[in-house]
C-alpha cells in the first residue's frame, strides 16, 4: 500500500492512520472569495496541464548570455523623447514621486531640459514625450526603471533561439535615478556611465566570450545571494570574468580602474543582469494558451501588474503596496512610496524573495529571521509549478528554487508571492529610504483567473 493523501475531514486521515498506513494531511482552506467557479473551470480545462508543463519547460530551457553592451537608441531603437518605465502602463498624471523623479532625471540627461524641475511641464504637456513600459520593449528596469535613448544597456541572448532582453546599467545605492533622485550628482554619475562605463563594458564584453549569466546565477545562489536584494557574489564573479578584457581594452588606465572600482563597489551591479536573464527565461512561456503561469510581475509605483502565459499581453493590475521592512537613517513608513520596479521579475522566475532561504545574510535587512527565510522559500513551493534544477538552495538539501507561479494555486491557497524589495522615497528626488518585503495586491490573481476561465470556456464551446 502506498500512502494516502487526505484533503478534507481529518477524521478520515485518522481512520487511515489507525490502520498503520502513512497519511499526508493537506491543510486545506477555502480559496480566495469568489474564485470557486473559475477555479473549477480552469482545473477542468483540458489544455491546462500540458500547457503548464510546456510553459515550465520553456522557462527552464533558457540560458542567458551577456553578448553586448550598447546605448538604448541602438539596441532598442529608442528615439528622443521616448521614455521606458517600470511596471504596467501609466501616464504622468498617475505616476508616483519616484517615477516622476526618474523621468525628470532622464529628461535632463537627454538634454530635453536644462533643469530636471523644468521637465514637469514637459511631461504635463505630453506632446513631445511618450511613456511606455520596459516590458513592452524586451526590457526590464529596476525601481523607476526609466530608460532613455542615451543610456547604455546590457544585451542578453538565449543562444538556442537568439531571443534578446535588455536592462540598463546599475547606478549603485542612495541618491540615484532609479529611486527617483535627480540632483546634480545623479546626473553627473549617469553621464560618466554613458561616457566611460558603457564603452568600457562594451569593449570588454565584445572582446570576451559571452558571459554565462545563468551560470553565475547558479553559483551566486550558493554563495548567499538571492539575486534581488543581495548580488554581491554575482557582481564580483562578473568582474572576474570581464576584468582581463577591461584591462586590455586600450582605454585610459584611470578610466579602466575607475570602472572596475565602480562595479566592484556596487553590490547591486549584477541585479541588472539577473533581471533580464529572468525575463529572457519567462518570455519563453508567453502566449502558451491554457497556461496559468505568471510570466511577469511588475510595479510602476502606483499599480502592481502581472501578466500570465495564457492571457497574452494583458496586464492585471491593482494598487501597489508599501513594503514592510527597515528604513535608512531617519526615514520612516510615511516617507516610503508604494512598491516600484520590474525587479519582481526575479521572484517570478523563482529567485529573490522565493530564494530567501539561500540568503540568510540579508534576512535582517528585510526585517526577518533565518527560520522565516526557510519557511518563505518552502511556502513559495506551494504556489509554483515546479523547481529549477539549475538553481538550488544548499540549506534546503539543494532543493531547486520554486519556479513558475501558478495563478490558480495563489487563488486556492491565498499565499501571495513574497517579494524582496528596495523602498523609494514618496517624494520625487528623495532616493532610497529603505528595504523590505512586499506582496502583490491579492485581487489581481482572481482577475487573471477570471480571464483564464473565460478563455477556457470560449475554447471548450468553440
Amino acid at each position: 500500500m502506498t500512502t494516502i493523501v487526505n484533503v478534507g475531514a481529518d477524521l478520515f486521515a485518522d481512520a487511515v492512520a489507525g490502520q498503520a498506513v502513512d497519511v499526508e494531511r493537506v491543510d486545506w482552506r477555502p480559496p480566495m472569495p469568489g474564485t470557486e467557479a473559475d477555479l473549477a473551470t480552469v482545473a477542468a480545462d483540458p489544455r491546462r496541464q500540458d500547457a503548464n508543463r510546456r510553459a515550465l519547460e520553456a522557462v527552464l530551457g533558457v540560458t542567458a548570455r551577456l553578448v553586448d553592451v550598447a546605448p538604448a537608441s541602438e539596441v532598442l531603437g529608442l528615439q528622443r523623447g521616448e521614455f521606458l518605465h517600470a511596471g504596467p502602463p501609466i501616464d504622468w498624471a498617475r505616476a508616483s514621486g519616484p517615477l516622476r523623479g526618474g523621468l525628470m532625471a532622464g529628461a535632463a540627461l537627454e538634454g530635453l531640459v536644462e533643469d530636471p524641475e523644468d521637465a514637469v511641464a514637459l511631461f504635463e504637456a505630453g506632446s513631445s514625450v511618450s511613456l511606455e513600459p520596459c516590458h513592452h520593449r524586451a526590457t526590464v528596469g529596476p525601481m523607476a526603471g526609466v530608460v532613455t535613448p542615451s543610456m547604455w544597456m546590457f544585451v542578453l541572448e538565449d543562444p538556442a533561439t537568439g531571443r534578446r532582453t535588455h536592462c540598463s546599467l546599475n547606478e549603485g545605492l542612495g541618491k540615484v535615478l532609479r529611486y527617483g533622485a535627480y540632483s546634480p550628482e545623479v546626473l553627473t554619475r549617469l553621464r560618466w556611465m554613458g561616457d566611460v562605463l558603457g564603452p568600457l563594458l562594451q569593449a570588454a564584453v565584445r572582446a570576451s566570450e559571452p558571459v554565462d549569466v545563468t551560470g553565475i546565477l547558479t553559483q551566486m545562489l550558493q554563495m548567499g545571494d538571492e539575486a534581488h536584494n543581495r548580488n554581491r557574489a554575482g557582481t564580483l564573479m562578473l568582474l572576474r570574468d570581464l576584468a582581463p578584457a577591461m584591462v586590455r581594452s586600450g582605454l585610459e588606465v584611470a578610466d579602466v580602474a575607475e570602472g572596475m572600482r565602480f562595479v566592484g563597489a556596487n553590490d547591486h551591479f549584477f541585479l541588472n543582469l539577473a533581471m533580464p536573464a529572468c525575463k529572457l527565461a519567462l518570455d519563453a512561456a508567453r502566449g502558451i494558451e491554457g497556461s496559468t503561469m505568471v510570466v511577469a510581475m511588475a510595479r510602476n509605483g502606483t499599480d502592481f501588474g502581472i501578466q500570465v502565459a495564457g492571457t497574452g499581453d494583458e496586464w492585471f493590475t491593482g494598487p501597489a503596496q508599501v513594503a514592510d521592512g527597515l528604513y535608512l537613517g531617519d526615514y520612516g513608513p510615511d516617507d516610503a512610496n508604494p512598491d516600484i520596479g520590474d525587479s519582481a521579475i526575479t521572484e517570478t522566475a523563482g529567485i529573490g524573495g522565493f530564494a530567501m532561504a539561500t540568503a540568510p545574510a540579508i534576512v535582517r535587512l528585510v526585517g526577518g529571521t533565518v527560520p522565516d527565510a526557510l519557511a518563505t522559500t518552502r511556502r513559495m513551493h506551494e504556489i509554483t509549478l515546479g523547481e529549477n534544477p539549475r538553481w538550488s538552495v544548499p540549506v534546503l538539501d539543494f532543493q531547486g528554487t520554486p519556479t513558475g507561479i501558478d495563478v490558480t494555486r495563489v487563488c486556492r491557497t491565498g499565499i501571495l508571492p513574497q517579494i524582496n524589495t528596495g523602498m523609494a522615497g514618496r517624494v520625487a528626488g528623495t532616493g532610497q529610504v529603505g528595504a523590505g518585503l512586499v506582496t502583490p495586491p491579492a485581487e489581481i490573481f482572481p482577475q487573471a483567473l477570471a480571464r483564464l476561465a473565460e478563455l477556457a470556456r470560449a475554447t471548450s464551446s468553440s
Partner: protein, 462 residues
C-alpha cells in the same frame, strides 16, 4: 449571572468535523453552559440563533464564529483558551519527521512528497474538483467522499481519468477498500475472492458485513459514486474499477452493487463485463429485484459457499401503527423502503441525504440530528415500530451504541435495528449489538431481515 460572548474571526477556517470536536471540547469546560464554534454558514447561523446567540449580520461563510455562554465572566477566559487550544490541535501536523514543517496546502504539493499516493477528498463538494484534478494530474487515483459535487464536475473528472487510465471513486463515495486499507466509512474485512464495485456506500458495507459473517473475504471494494451508472456518466468509473479487479489475480468474482443502471448503460456495462476474464455478479437494488441480503446469498452460492443464518439478537414485541425508518445509510433506507413500501404510511428518512448534510457532518459522524428526530418519531402516536440502522467501521462514530442506547431506553415503542459491521471493526460488533439489545431492541445483521421483521411486528404483508 450568565454571560454570552460571540466573536467573528474572518479568514479563519477549519472543516466542519474538526469544529464539531472543537465545540465539544469547549462545552466540556467547567462553567460553560453552551458553546458553538462553527463556520458562519446559513445552517450554522440558524443553529446559533436557536442556541440564543446573536451573530453579527456581516458574517460570511468565510468567517469562523466563536459563540460561548458561560456561568459568569470569570469562565470566559478559560473557555476561549480551550477554543484556542482545540483549534491549534486541529492544525497540528501529525505526520512527518522531527522538523516542524508547515503542512502542504494543496493536493498537488502534498503529492510531490508522496508520489503515487492515493488521494482522499472530503472538502465541500464545490471545491472537490480542483483537489481531485490535482490527483489525476499527478497520476494518482482519487476517492471523492464529498457530496453535492456538480454533475459537470464529475464528468470532467471521470473523462480526464479515463484518458489517463486512472480511477475516480465518487463523488459521494462513502466506502472503499483498496489494497486492504479501508477508506471513508469502511469495514474491516479479511482478504478473499470477492472484488466489489459499488455505486453505493452503505450497500457496499452491507455486503461486506454479510460476506464477512459467512466467512468470505473481500480483496477490494471500489466505490464509483451514485451517479456513475446514470445515462450522463455512463459507467466511466465502473468500467475502470472492473478493469482493475479483473487484473487482480486474487479476485475470482466481481460483484457490482448499484441501483439499476439506465437501460442503455446496463447494456454497455454487460457488454464490457463480457470482455473480462473474471465473472461478474450483479447486485442491483430496485423494485422487483433481490435485496442486498439476497444478493449476498447469490454471491455465496456462486462461490460454492454455504449460506448461513443471518444473526438476530433480542426480540421486539408486536405493535400497532406504521414503521418509522430513521437511517444514516442511504442505500439501507432505500432497501427498507423497497421491501416495506410506503403505501401503508411507513416512512424512511435518510439523514445522510444531501438535504440534511449540506453544511454539516454526515450522520455516521455526527448522530445528533437523528437523535433529535428519534424522540419525536417515538412520541408520534401513529408510530408502530422504529427501524434504525447503525453502521460500524473505520470513520464512523467510535461508539454509536453508547450514544444511541440512552435515547432508546424507555421509548415505549418496539425498536428494530440493523447493525452493519464486521467482527474486525474498531467499535466491536458484539459489544455494539449487546448494548443495543440490552435496551430491548431487536438487532439484525441483515437490513432486509430487520425490515421484514419490522413489517411483521406491525402486521404488514411480508
Amino acid at each position: 449571572m450568565s454571560s454570552t460572548y460571540v466573536e467573528l474571526r474572518p479568514g479563519a477556517y477549519a472543516d466542519s468535523v474538526a469544529l464539531l470536536q472543537v465545540s465539544r471540547s469547549v462545552q466540556q469546560v467547567d462553567g460553560v453552559l453552551a458553546a458553538q464554534v462553527a463556520m458562519a454558514t446559513a445552517l450554522n447561523l440558524e443553529v446559533l440563533a436557536e442556541m440564543g446567540f446573536d451573530v453579527p449580520s456581516e458574517a460570511t461563510t468565510n468567517d469562523l464564529v466563536v459563540a460561548v455562554r458561560v456561568e459568569d465572566e470569570t469562565v470566559l477566559e478559560r473557555a476561549l483558551a480551550a477554543v484556542a487550544e482545540a483549534l491549534a490541535e486541529t492544525r497540528r501536523r501529525t505526520t512527518g519527521g522531527d522538523v516542524d514543517l508547515a503542512p502542504h496546502r494543496t493536493t498537488a504539493t502534498a503529492l510531490r512528497e508522496q508520489p503515487g499516493g492515493l488521494v482522499l477528498v472530503s472538502v465541500a463538494g464545490r471545491h472537490a474538483l480542483v483537489e481531485a484534478m490535482d490527483a489525476l494530474d499527478a497520476g494518482s487515483d482519487v476517492m471523492v467522499f464529498s457530496d453535492n459535487v456538480p454533475l459537470d464536475h464529475e464528468l470532467a473528472l471521470k473523462r480526464s481519468a479515463a484518458e489517463r487510465g486512472l480511477l475516480v471513486m465518487g463523488p459521494d463515495c462513502g466506502t472503499a477498500v483498496v489494497d486492504g486499507v479501508g477508506l471513508g466509512f469502511a469495514n474491516v474485512v479479511r482478504p478473499g475472492p470477492v472484488g466489489l464495485v459499488a455505486a453505493s456506500g452503505t450497500g457496499c458495507q452491507q455486503l461486506l458485513a454479510l460476506l464477512d459473517h459467512a466467512g468470505v473475504g473481500v480483496s477490494s471494494a471500489l466505490g464509483v459514486g451514485g451517479r456513475d451508472l446514470s445515462s450522463e456518466v455512463r459507467g466511466l468509473a465502473t468500467r475502470e474499477a472492473m478493469r482493475r479487479l479483473d487484473r487482480d489475480p486474487a479476485v475470482e468474482l466481481i460483484v457490482l452493487v448499484s441501483k439499476p443502471p439506465a437501460d442503455d448503460v446496463a447494456a454497455d456495462i454487460e457488454e464490457y463485463a463480457a470482455t473480462l476474464a473474471t465473472p461478474v455478479e450483479y447486485a442491483l437494488l430496485g423494485p422487483g429485484r433481490p435485496d442486498l441480503t439476497a444478493a449476498a446469498e447469490a454471491v455465496l452460492r456462486r462461490l460454492g459457499h454455504a449460506v448461513p443464518a443471518w444473526p438476530v439478537t433480542g426480540a421486539a414485541g408486536p405493535a400497532d401503527g406504521v414503521i418509522r425508518g430513521l437511517f444514516v445509510g442511504g442505500t439501507l433506507a432505500s432497501e427498507a423502503r423497497l421491501i416495506a413500501g410506503t403505501d401503508a404510511g411507513h416512512t424512511f428518512v435518510d439523514f445522510g441525504d444531501d438535504e440534511y448534510t449540506a453544511g454539516r457532518a454526515h450522520p455516521m459522524i455526527d448522530p445528533s440530528l437523528r437523535l433529535e428526530h428519534l424522540a419525536r418519531a417515538a412520541a408520534d402516536p401513529a408510530t408502530g415500530v422504529l427501524l434504525l440502522d447503525v453502521v460500524l467501521g473505520h470513520g464512523a462514530e467510535p461508539d454509536p451504541a453508547t450514544l444511541l442506547a440512552p435515547a432508546l431506553t424507555g421509548l415505549g415503542k418496539p425498536v428494530v435495528i440493523a447493525v452493519v459491521g464486521t467482527t474486525g471493526d474498531p467499535q466491536g460488533l458484539d459489544r455494539q449489538v449487546r448494548a443495543l439489545a440490552d435496551t430491548g431492541a431487536e438487532v439484525h445483521l441483515s437490513n432486509a431481515g430487520a425490515t421484514r421483521r419490522a413489517l411483521e411486528l406491525v402486521g404488514g404483508p411480508l
